[in-house]
Symmetry: C2
Subunit: 256 residues, 2 copies
Amino acid sequence: MSVLTQLADALHDGSVEVVDLTAPLSSETPLLELPPHFGQTARFELEEISRYDDRGPAWYWNNFRTGEHTGTHFDAPNHWVTGKDLGDVSGVPVGVFLRPAAVIDVVDRVEADPDFLLEREHVEAWVDEHGPLPAGGWLLCRTGWSSRTTQQDMINNTETGPTSPGMSADCARWVAEETDLIGIGVETVGTDAGAAHSFDPAFPCHALLLGAGKYGLAQLQNLDQLPPTGAMVMASPLKIVGGSGSPVRVLALVER
Amino acid sequence: MSVLTQLADALHDGSVEVVDLTAPLSSETPLLELPPHFGQTARFELEEISRYDDRGPAWYWNNFRTGEHTGTHFDAPNHWVTGKDLGDVSGVPVGVFLRPAAVIDVVDRVEADPDFLLEREHVEAWVDEHGPLPAGGWLLCRTGWSSRTTQQDMINNTETGPTSPGMSADCARWVAEETDLIGIGVETVGTDAGAAHSFDPAFPCHALLLGAGKYGLAQLQNLDQLPPTGAMVMASPLKIVGGSGSPVRVLALVER
Ligand SMILES: Nc1ccccc1C(=O)C(=O)O
Ligand SMILES: Nc1ccccc1C(=O)C(=O)O
């Protein structure tokens, strides 16, 4: 039997399940906050066109405004100057939109330290336990941060500024240059740690991964429902011509 | 070997391919035109936030405004008054986002008659040739209309108004009430024919399918790259709380 027929059957009988990794999109959706002299990503806003009324008697629909990097979203290489010529979001090869995932769980460490940074050693320990990273796959980092659903809890400002977990510059360089991963996925508002403006390079996940033609996924949820290996990630950004990224519905296929 | 491992391998070795069924999203993307006294779906517009400049030295990104039903998009049941209480786009069960497809080709008939309407008989003839419709799957209708990429060609106004192919009210009732299909996908700006405002009921694909808790996909491309049976459709709308639909990146998995 062909693999797609088997997949259809498995979805039908529940032996493969679809898990939603996406944060709800509304005017409450938490946003990245940059220093005020920089341009900012827009809060998601619906504008009603009609609701079974004079403006459209049988139909309800909306226009909306948002940021390419608002809510659960996909980062394309040209989002960063290092990836300027490595492709916009409409040009990402479509094969990228269905890829295997490795899921690393660092919830305990983040509970102890909200500035926790994932290091190469943590990923190597994961490999010792679970086997090789999936070639061409995502590394999804479960921090527990998705339980913070308000702007304040998500950004977690302290004396030193935004305080949320991420990846060290060394680890980002290793992922970008020495692994076959196509990108990383995180639960925070962006792929970089809250303090990453002060790293060298600044915002290393953005600078190094996008500069290597790789991708990012931010503001994921429900990573606790994924196994460490074997899940497939469906993440298909909008085909925005010249876009640097897109809000996205991220799903995972999981064997039960 | 597990089905997801087989799928990952098949994607890796090219025996399963991902095909992009999505129209590019830009200010040129064709739009539905309703009579002027009704509210209208917004043209897609990018607003640059920064481009490696003072507003963000190392990064490029945009905000954007669009309609839920602009470009390649997904219709949720509450888009129509008949489906008012049958669910918003954020509540669509996520299993819907990966489903098998039947692809029916009526390009020749549409070439002869741009007002061509798909009838139950055409679908039954397809079933005679290709076997049963996929349970819980999409019926994708290839009309060739996607070769019309400008507003004018897509809407194709004549003396009688917008002139584009679709489905008869009888066929829509049959799909809605007597088949296991979850919805239909089309190449035109909406699931209904250009003349469907004058059908009984008006806009029957919207009224009857959404009223049966089913879904719609509009402005698809590249349906010529799909086999009549065996493709799987990935179509995951944004998780817009209370939304009636969403622009979507539609992809198909195809066995080579
Ligand atoms: N960290 C950033 C700095 C500048 C611009 C964007 C970001 C993001 O995180 C993003 O891509 O959401
Ligand atoms: N036909 C319509 C009439 C009214 C509102 C929307 C539509 C659509 O086609 C749509 O959903 O794109």
